[in-house]
Amino acid sequence: DQQVKQNSPSLSVQEGRISILNCDYTNSMFDYFLWYKKYPAEGPTFLISISSIKDKNEDGRFTVFLNKSAKHLSLHIVPSQPGDSAVYFCAASEAHGGSQGNLIFGKGTKLSVKP
């Protein structure tokens, strides 16, 4: 039962270009979405988040877009840098459903940014 899906296991992008990572979800109760980045031998590191009341959130080179009707979100990285090479996890939670914030993760997309 994949409530959060990342259908692209990997993505390769040239340095300086845009990286677009996609995520779909099925649970209509999700109202808070996050992206985490993970390097090998480290835990996931929070990158950026978006509430369901917004459709866009921007933080420096990172922008997350949310399309609630399509149950789809995407992470844009512009410009991409070699240091961005990592596994990116999309995650979701029911922030207003009495949950304590437990996160439901996708399988991740491995981004490789080539110099």
């Binding site: 959060v4 808070y32 985490y36 031998a41 480290e42 835990g43 996931p44 590191t45 929070f46 988040s49 509430s51 996890f89 995650a91 939670s93 922030a95 949950s99 304590q100 914030g101 437990n102 996160l103 439901i104 993760f105 996708g106 399988k107 991740g108």
Partner: protein, 115 residues
């Protein structure tokens, strides 16, 4: 910068043995979580813990699992009788007392190998 720490980094055990995975959350955080990632799979929520009791748990978190905050700093995950399928990376996370959407900070993980 404060961080979540986990010990050991790698634990090897025989099937049927008990293991205890240890975590030291960020000092002023009040909400604690355990997640796991089986190799090649997504990160999965196991349990959340607040005010010395379990807040939520997933179907993975059966009677073989237990959590404890034995003192003011440690947060432990015990697996009573390990099975081969318990082999995974186990991540501890913590967040502040604020809203459920506050960032969860993850530790580097403990790799559990059950032989």
């Amino acid at each position: 910068e404060p961080e979540v720490t986990q010990t050991p980094s790698h634990q090897v055990t025989q099937m049927g043995q008990e293991v205890i995975l240890r975590c030291v959350p960020i000092s002023n955080h009040l909400y604690f979580y355990w997640y796991r990632q089986i190799l090649g799979q997504k990160v999965e929520f196991l349990v959340s813990f607040y005010n010395n009791e379990i807040s939520e748990k997933s179907e993975i978190f059966d009677d073989q699992f237990s959590v404890e905050r034995p003192d003011g700093s440690n947060f432990t995950l015990k697996i009573r009788s390990t099975k081969l399928e318990d082999s995974a990376m186990y991540f501890c996370a913590s967040r502040d007392r604020g809203h459920v959407t506050d960032t969860q900070y993850f530790g580097p993980g403990t790799r559990l190998t059950v032989l």
